[in-house]
Symmetry: C2
Subunit: 345 residues, 2 copies
């Protein structure tokens, strides 16, 4: 009988976490019931939100239960279907978690055309992270031509598309914040950012970052797309313009904190600039995913929208891959290749 | 020759201020030139924003210069006009500052009908504070029927109208935060709040205020209209609902701070609730003042919208009246009666 390796949540670390928060186990490969589909996963997406799922606190979705399979977006191949909408051999995107095999009900499962783009993009630039960039920048951030846009985690799975969409949509200036020279060079040379600030050498000195941002944004900041939070965001807020929009997509620098950090209040900057700060999750835009994917696919096909993947091989390395994100070691969309991708030859 | 008593800004205190920040002087009554109007002031409005004008820092308008007349909204009587749009005896609302006489150009000067409501309301419920409540709640706060609305400084010149407009527009629950039992009783018995929390006995204990708010808002908070900031706002944020709107109108508890206070970051609450926080100033809605005044006047006439004035007599007491606001001693709209109101018999 075939074996299904899978990672369970084993602990709820209050602060920094390591691999011991997870437990690898072997289970029988499940059988699909009527209406269900058995999928052999190929790609697993690792994303910052997973840290929140490891905590038992109020958030926008319930946490992963202790002993349950870790949650995650996947791309795989249908190997048995009892659902007429899917057939053996279909490539599908689903949220089947950190495991080799999973059962989908068909609901929320999306067929992927391997001819359109590499199938891994279904959990990347043409999946949740890409859509997050699209709706977060254009709807929540209400970016318009002529704006100065600042993006934190500027080369990440979300930040990378944000900077490029801003450029495509006519931003006057697009400025990234990223960790390390390699990422900053890539942001400017490959992704088309006008400038990219390397925060890593700044030792959490907000004043130094404010100075660098002021130099990079001579006309102030109209839109801030925030993936990082903490002292990075503290430095951006004093520079926002009248009617600025701040889209809060994530705060990876705060997810491992046991207690909230204390920081100067930011509301004054919102008041004196009539500025808006808004949190969002991509599921709020569920009804409009088609619209977003159509436009994003067009840009990927035309080469206007580049993406970069950071691939770790083997499901056994999933915890290590998640840790890479929190150390800022990933360079592009963090993926685990659970098995060789049969669509890439 | 008639004398014009006026208050000048004499210092820029970095923190708590007292009367020594201002200087009373006597000057000749000015003469209007062509197109101008000489107004003999009757009412002076004291408002929290004035603290910001005393500082030399970036804000939405330039500061008052040292040695210049303190800024402020006024209602007065035209005593000499070289502008065909205004005639002697007209009652007008203008921003002529802390002085007995002032020159208006006619631009930004509004004729007031003493038959409609007491003329002092032109700097209160039917002036800037009332319009701030109206557009802040309905536009920035995007309040809709069924919402739970929380208002800080709930009986103030802005907060009082906010709570009542929320009630008129069908809020499910309207909860105030105010200082002292008298204000809280008034909020519930006269203004129609469902509950009002007295923060004064809580000694800045955010946890205690959170508890009280949770009890007063069993279904969470959909709209928060903030006039106060600081630890009051810290306590509201953890209780906001999905898609909550936070309208930042003022932060009187922070205006006297020499350095920003440190506080737990609030962005997480915005992120996990897809909530929005937005600063505004009433001038953003300049084009729509007529619309707001029409609706507000109707409610005042019908008795649905009550207001309360806190009158200090004599221009010489203007600094003391401003200090009342910062000590939370005012009960209702803080006014200075510069001279007896000729329209009130």
């Amino acid at each position: 009988m075939a074996v299904n390796r899978r990672w369970l949540l084993a602990a709820r670390p209050p602060g920094e976490f390591d691999e011991s928060a997870f437990k690898l186990e072997e289970a029988p490969v499940p059988s699909p019931k009527d209406g269900e589909v058995l999928v052999h996963n190929i790609w697993l997406s690792l994303d910052p939100y997973m840290r929140g799922r490891m905590r038992d606190v109020k958030s926008y979705v319930p946490p992963v239960q202790l002993g349950a399979v870790m949650e995650g977006g996947t791309v795989g191949e249908v190997i048995e279907s009892k659902n007429p909408a899917f057939k053996k051999g279909d490539i599908v995107e689903e949220r089947l978690g950190w495991q080799e095999y999973g059962i989908g009900t068909g609901k929320g499962m999306r067929k992927i055309d391997p001819g359109l783009a590499p199938i891994s993009t279904a959990v990347g630039v043409l999946g949740m992270p890409g859509l997050t960039a699209y709706f977060g920048l254009l709807d929540v951030g209400a970016m318009k031509a002529g704006d100065t846009v600042v993006v934190s985690a500027a080369t990440g799975a979300v930040g990378g598309p944000v900077g490029q969409i801003a450029r495509i949509k006519g931003a006057k200036r697009v400025v990234g914040i990223a960790g390390g020279k390699a990422k900053c060079d890539y942001a400017v040379k490959e992704l088309g950012y006008d400038a990219c600030i390397d925060y890593q050498a700044m030792g959490r000195d907000t004043g130094q970052l404010i100075k660098a941002l002021r130099a990079a944004c001579p006309d102030g900041i109209d839109v801030y797309f925030d993936n990082v939070g903490s002292w990075i965001t503290d430095a951006v807020l004093p520079l926002v313009n009248f009617k600025a929009r701040i889209a809060i997509c994530g705060m990876i620098a705060e997810y491992n904190l046991e207690k909230p950090e204390l920081a100067p209040r930011i509301t004054r900057h919102l008041l004196v600039n009539s500025a808006r700060m808004e949190g969002f999750i991509i599921l709020n835009f569920r009804q409009r995913f088609g619209e977003g994917l159509r436009e994003m696919s067009g840009w990927v096909k035309s080469g206007q929208l580049k993406y970069r993947e950071d691939v770790v091989d083997g499901l056994e390395n999933a915890p290590r891959a998640l840790l890479r994100l929190f150390k800022g070691e990933n360079f592009g969309k963090q993926l685990v290749r659970i098995r060789p991708d049969p669509t890439r030859r």
